[in-house]
Amino acid sequence: MALVRRNVVATADDVPPDRDDWIADLTSGDASIRRRAARALSRMPDAVPVLCTHLANEPGLSVRSIILTGLIVHRSAAVVNGLLPLLASEDANLRNSAIEALQQMPDEVAPHVESMLAHPDSDVRIFAVDVLAALAHPMVPEWLRRVVTNDPHVNVCAAALDALAEAGEPDVIPALQGLAERFSDVAFIRFAVDAAIRRIRGR
């Protein structure tokens, strides 16, 4: 008979290493050791700065994932400060993971939104809008309204339009119509404004 049974044996817990041991393990060449260290450190709120610093240098997706889960759980001003610079990262996975994590921290992100939306790089402003698109904060519609009214870059406005199709209320419609006028020569914007208004009105 090919089916064999082996009882799953509970292994004894290791003698817990201390914080410095875990920090040292974060630079191990073995990803499974780094994962274990990340898991342990992400249970320690005072390890947030170490984790944020390490995140930017961690090549392994599986280790990054564990660090980010820990940062999401801790969700503090320090965490947001550690994640915001990653919006400008060239590493798409790192950037997207940071966006995902920030989306989970509405109250902690709120004080930074204005400066994020004023970033000189239009791509970073797009990523900031991406954070807002899934952020559960009551100010989101108003922040997005300001983007479609004031941002000079068409693709930043397009991203905000997208987010408003879901999060917008009827009071934002005049701002959307203004956007369509501002970019009257861009076929996509005309289309997207119409679509967004339909979604917001519910008809």
Partner: protein, 285 residues
């Protein structure tokens, strides 16, 4: 109480339903086609009543802006049907024997058993289905040692699994000759799975969100984690997937439920196609 279609129509417009569909799809990967508007609409209206929302817009704002995500989770619970029976979603069992097992076996030279883990295993239909399907449909089953593990958080349901007695409803997808081969009739109770199979599954009780429990599972080749993660909150889902990554051997697989999508959960796994189904593989290195 049946609700006439017209009433659903007036409470939620087509455009509003389109907005809801898109949001639900973005968050869960589940897409309601237009025909499902009545089904989904009823459940939304139900939740609207319970929360005292006068309009759909009010309810949507709740699920869109609620930081805890609790109402969204309640809604997911309402929208999904979860029943267990033998050979459920057997297209994945087919992918297992036609693609996954041959691939694993080809690379297995050291005599280590191929380890499959069904979690949650509930009342046992899934791990026993794995056993039966492999014995029936994998020609090389005799040439390899196969371990099947089954875990659940609920010890009462695990006791049921160990007892292995099932009603007709649970066996509805099994051809009669398989019922004859692997079950014996128990008067007034249904069918009992053979003692050989009962003895061959390694059942354990535990919580996937408990790191100590998860540490017991290593070198797993295939995890069947169907219709569980969809009910978890974001944090538990992340932690569970990350823990399962560690439980798996390099090149090991996770199989999710039919309406679940790894693309809403994690990018740690690579999609692979076996026998026309998508399953998810841990990188080999």
């Amino acid at each position: 109480m049946t609700m006439p279609v017209a009433q659903t129509e007036t409470v939620i417009s087509d455009e509003e339903f389109a907005k809801f569909r898109e949001f639900f799809y973005r968050k869960t990967g589940i897409m309601f086609d237009a025909q499902k508007k009545y089904f989904a609409g009823r459940r939304i209206i139900d939740r609207m009543d319970k929360l005292g929302c006068a309009t759909f817009r009010e309810y949507f704002a709740t699920i869109r802006f609620e930081a805890s995500g609790d109402e969204m989770q309640r809604l997911v619970n309402q929208m999904t049907v979860n029943e267990t029976y033998f050979f459920r979603e057997d297209y994945q069992l087919k992918a297992l024997v036609a693609g996954i097992l041959p691939e694993l076996a080809a690379g297995r030279n050291d005599g280590r058993p191929i380890r499959l883990w069904s979690v949650p295993c509930s009342s046992g239909e899934e791990p026993y289905s794995l056993a039966i399907y492999i014995l029936e449909h994998w020609p090389d089953a005799d040439r390899h040692d196969i371990e099947i593990l089954g875990s659940d958080i609920d010890s009462a349901i695990l006791a049921e699994a160990a007892t292995g007695v099932y009603g007709e409803r649970s066996l509805q997808r099994l051809p009669p000759e398989l019922i004859r081969r692997y079950f014996s009739r128990v008067k007034d109770r249904g069918y009992r799975i053979s003692e050989d199979l009962r003895r061959s599954i390694d059942f354990s009780q535990g919580n996937v969100v408990d790191p100590q429990f998860m540490r017991r599972f290593r070198d797993v080749d295939v995890i069947f984690c169907r219709n569980m993660l969809i009910y978890f909150d974001d944090r538990s889902r992340r932690e569970t997937i990350e823990a399962m990554y560690d439980c798996l051997s390099p090149g090991g697989y996770i199989c999710l439920g039919h309406s679940e999508s790894m693309s809403r959960i994690s990018s740690l796994f690579q999609p692979r196609k076996h026998a026309d189904s998508i399953v998810y593989q841990k990188p080999s290195r």
